[in-house]
Amino acid sequence: MKIIQQSHAGTLESGDVLIRIQPIDSHQVEIELESVVEKQFGDAIRRLIHDTLHKLSIEGVRVIVEDKGALDCVIRARVQAALIRATGTQLLDLNWGAL
Protein backbone atom coordinates (compact mmCIF):
# COMPACT_ATOMS: atom_id res chain seq x y z
CA MET A 1 0.00 0.00 0.00
CA LYS A 2 1.28 3.47 -0.86
CA ILE A 3 1.05 6.37 1.57
CA ILE A 4 -0.66 9.43 0.12
CA GLN A 5 -0.84 11.81 3.06
CA GLN A 6 1.30 12.92 6.01
CA SER A 7 0.54 11.90 9.55
CA HIS A 8 2.13 11.60 12.96
CA ALA A 9 1.67 9.74 16.25
CA GLY A 10 3.40 9.75 19.62
CA THR A 11 5.01 12.32 21.90
CA LEU A 12 8.44 13.56 22.93
CA GLU A 13 8.01 12.44 26.53
CA SER A 14 10.57 10.12 28.08
CA GLY A 15 9.84 6.48 27.22
CA ASP A 16 7.87 7.48 24.11
CA VAL A 17 8.62 8.16 20.45
CA LEU A 18 7.28 10.66 17.91
CA ILE A 19 6.74 9.14 14.48
CA ARG A 20 6.09 11.26 11.40
CA ILE A 21 5.07 9.65 8.13
CA GLN A 22 5.49 11.37 4.74
CA PRO A 23 4.75 10.05 1.24
CA ILE A 24 7.71 10.00 -1.20
CA ASP A 25 7.89 9.63 -4.99
CA SER A 26 9.33 6.13 -5.07
CA HIS A 27 8.64 2.68 -3.70
CA GLN A 28 11.46 2.97 -1.16
CA VAL A 29 11.30 3.22 2.62
CA GLU A 30 13.41 6.03 4.11
CA ILE A 31 14.00 6.20 7.84
CA GLU A 32 15.43 9.28 9.59
CA LEU A 33 16.25 8.35 13.16
CA GLU A 34 17.17 10.54 16.08
CA SER A 35 17.37 8.62 19.34
CA VAL A 36 18.79 9.02 22.82
CA VAL A 37 19.94 5.41 22.50
CA GLU A 38 21.01 5.52 18.86
CA LYS A 39 24.51 4.14 19.48
CA GLN A 40 23.21 1.09 21.30
CA PHE A 41 19.90 0.45 19.56
CA GLY A 42 19.84 2.51 16.33
CA ASP A 43 20.12 -0.51 14.02
CA ALA A 44 17.55 -2.48 16.01
CA ILE A 45 15.07 0.42 15.85
CA ARG A 46 15.54 0.73 12.06
CA ARG A 47 15.01 -3.01 11.63
CA LEU A 48 11.90 -2.88 13.80
CA ILE A 49 10.39 -0.06 11.73
CA HIS A 50 11.24 -1.78 8.43
CA ASP A 51 9.67 -4.97 9.73
CA THR A 52 6.50 -3.16 10.89
CA LEU A 53 6.09 -1.48 7.47
CA HIS A 54 6.86 -4.68 5.58
CA LYS A 55 4.23 -6.70 7.45
CA LEU A 56 1.62 -4.13 6.44
CA SER A 57 2.98 -3.97 2.84
CA ILE A 58 3.68 -0.26 3.11
CA GLU A 59 6.10 1.39 0.67
CA GLY A 60 6.85 4.83 -0.76
CA VAL A 61 7.25 6.42 2.63
CA ARG A 62 9.64 8.50 4.74
CA VAL A 63 9.49 7.75 8.47
CA ILE A 64 10.94 10.45 10.72
CA VAL A 65 11.61 9.05 14.18
CA GLU A 66 12.37 11.09 17.31
CA ASP A 67 12.94 8.45 19.98
CA LYS A 68 13.08 9.15 23.71
CA GLY A 69 13.94 5.65 24.82
CA ALA A 70 10.71 3.89 23.82
CA LEU A 71 10.41 0.11 24.14
CA ASP A 72 9.87 -1.96 20.99
CA CYS A 73 6.17 -2.39 21.69
CA VAL A 74 5.73 1.40 21.95
CA ILE A 75 7.64 2.05 18.70
CA ARG A 76 5.61 -0.58 16.87
CA ALA A 77 2.33 0.86 18.21
CA ARG A 78 3.24 4.44 17.28
CA VAL A 79 4.34 3.49 13.75
CA GLN A 80 1.14 1.51 13.19
CA ALA A 81 -0.97 4.35 14.59
CA ALA A 82 0.70 6.87 12.26
CA LEU A 83 0.13 4.53 9.28
CA ILE A 84 -3.53 4.06 10.16
CA ARG A 85 -3.90 7.82 10.45
CA ALA A 86 -2.36 8.16 6.99
CA THR A 87 -4.40 5.41 5.32
CA GLY A 88 -7.65 4.93 7.26
CA THR A 89 -8.92 2.14 9.50
CA GLN A 90 -9.25 -0.38 6.64
CA LEU A 91 -5.55 -0.98 7.25
CA LEU A 92 -6.49 -2.17 10.73
CA ASP A 93 -9.53 -4.17 9.64
CA LEU A 94 -7.56 -6.14 7.09
CA ASN A 95 -4.38 -6.70 9.05
CA TRP A 96 -5.03 -7.69 12.65
CA GLY A 97 -2.79 -10.70 12.23
CA ALA A 98 0.07 -8.54 10.91
CA LEU A 99 0.09 -6.13 13.84
Binding site: E13, G15, C73, V74, A77, I84, W96, L99
Partner: protein
Amino acid sequence: MSKLRRSMLFVPGANAAMLSNSFIYSPDALMFDLEDSVAITEKDTARLLVFHALQMPLYKNVEKVVRVNPIDSPYGKLDVEAMVRAGVDVIRLPKTDSAEDILEMERHILQVERKCGRAEGSTRMMAAIESAQGVINAPEIAKSSRRLIGIALGAEDYVRDIRTERSPDGIELMFARCSILQAARAAGIAAFDTVYSNANNEEGFIHEAEHIKQLGFDGKSLINPRQIELLHNVFAPTRKEVGNARLIIEAAENASRQGLGVVSLNGKMIDAPIIERARWVLQRAEASGIRQ
Protein backbone atom coordinates in the same frame (compact mmCIF):
# COMPACT_ATOMS: atom_id res chain seq x y z
CA MET B 1 -9.51 -20.02 47.36
CA SER B 2 -10.82 -17.64 44.70
CA LYS B 3 -8.29 -15.38 43.02
CA LEU B 4 -7.21 -12.38 45.10
CA ARG B 5 -8.36 -9.12 43.60
CA ARG B 6 -7.70 -6.61 46.34
CA SER B 7 -5.94 -4.03 44.21
CA MET B 8 -6.52 -2.99 40.60
CA LEU B 9 -4.09 -0.30 39.49
CA PHE B 10 -5.28 2.06 36.74
CA VAL B 11 -2.71 2.70 34.00
CA PRO B 12 -3.62 5.39 31.43
CA GLY B 13 -3.58 3.73 28.01
CA ALA B 14 -2.04 6.70 26.21
CA ASN B 15 0.95 7.01 28.52
CA ALA B 16 3.79 5.10 26.86
CA ALA B 17 6.17 5.33 29.82
CA MET B 18 3.62 4.03 32.32
CA LEU B 19 2.62 1.21 29.99
CA SER B 20 6.28 0.29 29.68
CA ASN B 21 7.07 0.01 33.38
CA SER B 22 3.88 -0.77 35.35
CA PHE B 23 4.98 -4.40 35.67
CA ILE B 24 7.41 -3.32 38.41
CA TYR B 25 4.52 -2.78 40.82
CA SER B 26 2.69 -5.73 42.26
CA PRO B 27 -1.04 -5.09 42.30
CA ASP B 28 -3.37 -8.07 42.05
CA ALA B 29 -4.48 -6.72 38.66
CA LEU B 30 -3.43 -3.99 36.26
CA MET B 31 -6.23 -2.04 34.63
CA PHE B 32 -5.18 -0.39 31.38
CA ASP B 33 -7.56 2.43 30.59
CA LEU B 34 -8.79 3.37 27.12
CA GLU B 35 -11.74 5.40 28.35
CA ASP B 36 -11.76 8.56 30.45
CA SER B 37 -8.01 9.02 30.85
CA VAL B 38 -7.48 9.07 27.07
CA ALA B 39 -8.17 12.19 24.98
CA ILE B 40 -10.47 11.72 21.98
CA THR B 41 -7.60 12.46 19.59
CA GLU B 42 -5.45 9.72 21.16
CA LYS B 43 -8.00 6.88 21.29
CA ASP B 44 -6.47 5.18 18.23
CA THR B 45 -2.87 5.20 19.44
CA ALA B 46 -3.80 4.26 23.02
CA ARG B 47 -5.63 1.21 21.64
CA LEU B 48 -2.49 0.11 19.78
CA LEU B 49 -0.19 0.85 22.73
CA VAL B 50 -2.29 -1.32 25.04
CA PHE B 51 -2.66 -3.98 22.31
CA HIS B 52 1.12 -4.38 22.23
CA ALA B 53 1.69 -3.88 25.97
CA LEU B 54 -0.71 -6.76 26.75
CA GLN B 55 1.54 -9.08 24.75
CA MET B 56 4.75 -8.06 26.55
CA PRO B 57 6.26 -11.05 28.38
CA LEU B 58 6.85 -8.78 31.39
CA TYR B 59 3.09 -8.63 31.97
CA LYS B 60 2.65 -12.37 31.72
CA ASN B 61 2.19 -13.02 35.43
CA VAL B 62 -0.26 -10.30 36.38
CA GLU B 63 -3.99 -10.26 35.68
CA LYS B 64 -4.65 -7.75 32.91
CA VAL B 65 -7.92 -5.82 32.79
CA VAL B 66 -8.71 -3.22 30.12
CA ARG B 67 -11.37 -0.57 30.57
CA VAL B 68 -12.73 -0.10 27.07
CA ASN B 69 -14.92 2.69 25.71
CA PRO B 70 -18.70 2.15 25.72
CA ILE B 71 -19.72 -0.24 22.94
CA ASP B 72 -22.07 2.37 21.42
CA SER B 73 -19.25 4.94 21.14
CA PRO B 74 -17.15 5.15 17.94
CA TYR B 75 -14.27 3.41 19.78
CA GLY B 76 -15.84 0.60 21.82
CA LYS B 77 -15.99 -2.15 19.19
CA LEU B 78 -12.45 -1.54 17.93
CA ASP B 79 -11.21 -1.53 21.54
CA VAL B 80 -12.82 -4.91 22.19
CA GLU B 81 -11.53 -6.36 18.92
CA ALA B 82 -7.95 -5.30 19.72
CA MET B 83 -7.99 -6.38 23.36
CA VAL B 84 -9.57 -9.80 22.84
CA ARG B 85 -7.05 -10.51 20.08
CA ALA B 86 -4.19 -9.33 22.31
CA GLY B 87 -5.18 -11.86 24.98
CA VAL B 88 -6.66 -9.59 27.66
CA ASP B 89 -7.87 -11.43 30.76
CA VAL B 90 -10.81 -9.19 31.61
CA ILE B 91 -12.74 -6.51 29.70
CA ARG B 92 -14.17 -3.83 31.98
CA LEU B 93 -17.31 -2.13 30.73
CA PRO B 94 -17.74 1.45 31.82
CA LYS B 95 -21.11 3.04 32.60
CA THR B 96 -23.15 -0.16 32.78
CA ASP B 97 -26.80 0.75 33.22
CA SER B 98 -28.54 -2.55 32.49
CA ALA B 99 -28.06 -6.27 31.87
CA GLU B 100 -28.55 -5.57 28.14
CA ASP B 101 -25.30 -3.52 28.16
CA ILE B 102 -23.47 -6.64 29.33
CA LEU B 103 -25.20 -8.92 26.85
CA GLU B 104 -24.41 -6.60 23.95
CA MET B 105 -20.73 -6.47 24.93
CA GLU B 106 -20.71 -10.23 25.40
CA ARG B 107 -22.08 -10.81 21.90
CA HIS B 108 -19.32 -8.67 20.45
CA ILE B 109 -16.61 -10.39 22.50
CA LEU B 110 -17.87 -13.79 21.33
CA GLN B 111 -17.74 -12.67 17.68
CA VAL B 112 -14.11 -11.61 18.07
CA GLU B 113 -13.17 -14.80 19.92
CA ARG B 114 -14.61 -16.82 17.03
CA LYS B 115 -12.84 -14.68 14.40
CA CYS B 116 -9.41 -14.87 15.99
CA GLY B 117 -9.60 -18.46 17.23
CA ARG B 118 -9.55 -17.68 20.94
CA ALA B 119 -11.40 -20.15 23.19
CA GLU B 120 -15.03 -19.09 23.53
CA GLY B 121 -15.73 -17.71 26.99
CA SER B 122 -12.05 -17.23 27.84
CA THR B 123 -12.39 -13.43 27.86
CA ARG B 124 -13.85 -12.51 31.24
CA MET B 125 -15.78 -9.34 31.96
CA MET B 126 -16.40 -6.92 34.79
CA ALA B 127 -18.91 -4.11 34.88
CA ALA B 128 -18.55 -0.65 36.35
CA ILE B 129 -21.79 0.76 37.69
CA GLU B 130 -21.72 4.53 37.55
CA SER B 131 -25.34 5.77 37.62
CA ALA B 132 -28.50 5.60 39.70
CA GLN B 133 -30.06 3.40 37.02
CA GLY B 134 -27.09 1.05 37.16
CA VAL B 135 -27.34 0.78 40.95
CA ILE B 136 -31.06 -0.01 40.72
CA ASN B 137 -30.33 -2.68 38.11
CA ALA B 138 -27.26 -4.08 39.91
CA PRO B 139 -28.88 -7.48 40.77
CA GLU B 140 -29.78 -8.15 37.09
CA ILE B 141 -26.40 -6.84 35.88
CA ALA B 142 -24.51 -9.10 38.29
CA LYS B 143 -26.36 -12.21 37.10
CA SER B 144 -26.35 -11.37 33.39
CA SER B 145 -23.29 -13.29 32.19
CA ARG B 146 -21.14 -16.22 33.19
CA ARG B 147 -18.14 -14.23 32.02
CA LEU B 148 -18.57 -11.66 34.80
CA ILE B 149 -15.93 -11.86 37.51
CA GLY B 150 -17.33 -8.90 39.42
CA ILE B 151 -19.04 -5.54 39.47
CA ALA B 152 -17.49 -2.26 40.52
CA LEU B 153 -18.68 1.11 41.69
CA GLY B 154 -17.55 4.11 39.61
CA ALA B 155 -18.18 6.89 42.10
CA GLU B 156 -17.21 10.04 40.23
CA ASP B 157 -19.92 9.68 37.58
CA TYR B 158 -22.35 8.24 40.13
CA VAL B 159 -22.23 11.24 42.50
CA ARG B 160 -22.69 13.56 39.54
CA ASP B 161 -25.72 11.52 38.48
CA ILE B 162 -27.36 11.69 41.92
CA ARG B 163 -26.47 15.40 42.16
CA THR B 164 -24.03 15.50 45.02
CA GLU B 165 -20.28 15.28 45.54
CA ARG B 166 -17.90 12.96 47.35
CA SER B 167 -17.26 13.56 51.05
CA PRO B 168 -14.61 12.17 53.42
CA ASP B 169 -17.01 9.78 55.17
CA GLY B 170 -18.63 8.66 51.91
CA ILE B 171 -22.21 8.81 53.19
CA GLU B 172 -23.40 9.66 49.66
CA LEU B 173 -22.04 6.31 48.42
CA MET B 174 -23.50 4.11 51.15
CA PHE B 175 -26.60 3.03 49.23
CA ALA B 176 -24.68 2.33 46.01
CA ARG B 177 -21.92 0.43 47.82
CA CYS B 178 -24.38 -1.75 49.73
CA SER B 179 -26.52 -2.37 46.62
CA ILE B 180 -23.51 -3.39 44.54
CA LEU B 181 -22.14 -5.58 47.28
CA GLN B 182 -25.46 -7.40 47.83
CA ALA B 183 -25.95 -7.87 44.09
CA ALA B 184 -22.43 -9.27 43.69
CA ARG B 185 -22.73 -11.66 46.61
CA ALA B 186 -26.17 -12.86 45.50
CA ALA B 187 -24.68 -13.63 42.07
CA GLY B 188 -21.55 -15.22 43.52
CA ILE B 189 -19.13 -12.72 41.97
CA ALA B 190 -16.71 -10.12 43.36
CA ALA B 191 -17.45 -6.53 44.39
CA PHE B 192 -14.92 -3.76 43.80
CA ASP B 193 -14.90 -0.27 45.21
CA THR B 194 -14.20 2.97 43.41
CA VAL B 195 -10.92 4.93 43.31
CA TYR B 196 -9.75 7.27 46.05
CA SER B 197 -8.59 10.14 43.92
CA ASN B 198 -6.38 12.14 46.30
CA ALA B 199 -3.15 10.15 46.06
CA ASN B 200 -1.43 12.38 48.63
CA ASN B 201 -3.96 11.76 51.42
CA GLU B 202 -2.84 8.41 52.87
CA GLU B 203 -4.93 8.77 56.01
CA GLY B 204 -8.10 9.39 53.99
CA PHE B 205 -7.28 6.46 51.71
CA ILE B 206 -6.76 4.05 54.60
CA HIS B 207 -9.98 5.25 56.25
CA GLU B 208 -11.92 4.55 53.04
CA ALA B 209 -10.18 1.18 52.50
CA GLU B 210 -11.08 0.04 56.03
CA HIS B 211 -14.66 1.16 55.46
CA ILE B 212 -15.13 -0.82 52.24
CA LYS B 213 -13.37 -3.88 53.66
CA GLN B 214 -15.76 -3.82 56.62
CA LEU B 215 -18.71 -3.60 54.20
CA GLY B 216 -17.43 -6.76 52.54
CA PHE B 217 -15.78 -5.58 49.30
CA ASP B 218 -13.10 -7.74 47.68
CA GLY B 219 -10.94 -4.82 46.65
CA LYS B 220 -10.59 -1.38 45.22
CA SER B 221 -9.40 0.40 42.09
CA LEU B 222 -6.23 2.43 42.63
CA ILE B 223 -4.82 5.45 40.86
CA ASN B 224 -1.31 5.47 42.34
CA PRO B 225 1.16 2.63 42.97
CA ARG B 226 1.77 4.03 46.49
CA GLN B 227 -1.75 2.91 47.39
CA ILE B 228 -1.06 -0.80 46.67
CA GLU B 229 0.84 -1.62 49.83
CA LEU B 230 -1.49 0.49 52.00
CA LEU B 231 -4.49 -1.41 50.64
CA HIS B 232 -2.93 -4.86 50.95
CA ASN B 233 -2.07 -4.06 54.55
CA VAL B 234 -5.68 -3.11 55.29
CA PHE B 235 -6.81 -6.43 53.82
CA ALA B 236 -4.22 -8.44 55.79
CA PRO B 237 -5.54 -10.04 58.99
CA THR B 238 -4.09 -8.98 62.36
CA ARG B 239 -1.83 -11.24 64.42
CA LYS B 240 -4.69 -11.70 66.90
CA GLU B 241 -7.14 -12.74 64.15
CA VAL B 242 -4.63 -15.28 62.80
CA GLY B 243 -4.01 -16.66 66.30
CA ASN B 244 -7.75 -17.06 66.93
CA ALA B 245 -8.25 -18.69 63.56
CA ARG B 246 -5.54 -21.27 64.31
CA LEU B 247 -7.16 -22.09 67.69
CA ILE B 248 -10.55 -22.51 66.01
CA ILE B 249 -9.18 -24.86 63.34
CA GLU B 250 -7.36 -26.87 66.01
CA ALA B 251 -10.50 -27.13 68.16
CA ALA B 252 -12.58 -28.11 65.14
CA GLU B 253 -10.11 -30.81 64.14
CA ASN B 254 -10.10 -32.21 67.68
CA ALA B 255 -13.91 -32.21 67.73
CA SER B 256 -14.04 -33.95 64.38
CA ARG B 257 -11.67 -36.69 65.62
CA GLN B 258 -14.02 -37.23 68.55
CA GLY B 259 -17.04 -37.30 66.26
CA LEU B 260 -18.52 -34.04 67.61
CA GLY B 261 -20.33 -31.60 65.28
CA VAL B 262 -20.18 -28.57 67.55
CA VAL B 263 -17.40 -27.59 69.93
CA SER B 264 -16.80 -24.77 72.33
CA LEU B 265 -13.66 -22.66 72.59
CA ASN B 266 -13.25 -20.36 75.60
CA GLY B 267 -16.99 -20.56 76.17
CA LYS B 268 -17.94 -19.66 72.57
CA MET B 269 -19.69 -22.06 70.25
CA ILE B 270 -17.65 -23.03 67.20
CA ASP B 271 -19.72 -24.26 64.26
CA ALA B 272 -19.40 -24.52 60.49
CA PRO B 273 -19.60 -20.80 59.49
CA ILE B 274 -17.02 -19.88 62.16
CA ILE B 275 -14.68 -22.64 61.01
CA GLU B 276 -15.07 -21.54 57.40
CA ARG B 277 -14.27 -17.95 58.35
CA ALA B 278 -11.18 -19.10 60.29
CA ARG B 279 -9.93 -20.98 57.20
CA TRP B 280 -10.54 -17.86 55.11
CA VAL B 281 -8.51 -15.74 57.60
CA LEU B 282 -5.59 -18.17 57.37
CA GLN B 283 -5.74 -18.17 53.57
CA ARG B 284 -5.80 -14.37 53.61
CA ALA B 285 -2.77 -14.32 55.92
CA GLU B 286 -0.91 -16.60 53.55
CA ALA B 287 -1.62 -14.25 50.64
CA SER B 288 -1.41 -10.85 52.33
CA GLY B 289 0.84 -11.49 55.34
CA ILE B 290 0.06 -10.14 58.80
CA ARG B 291 -1.17 -6.56 59.17
CA GLN B 292 1.64 -4.15 60.10
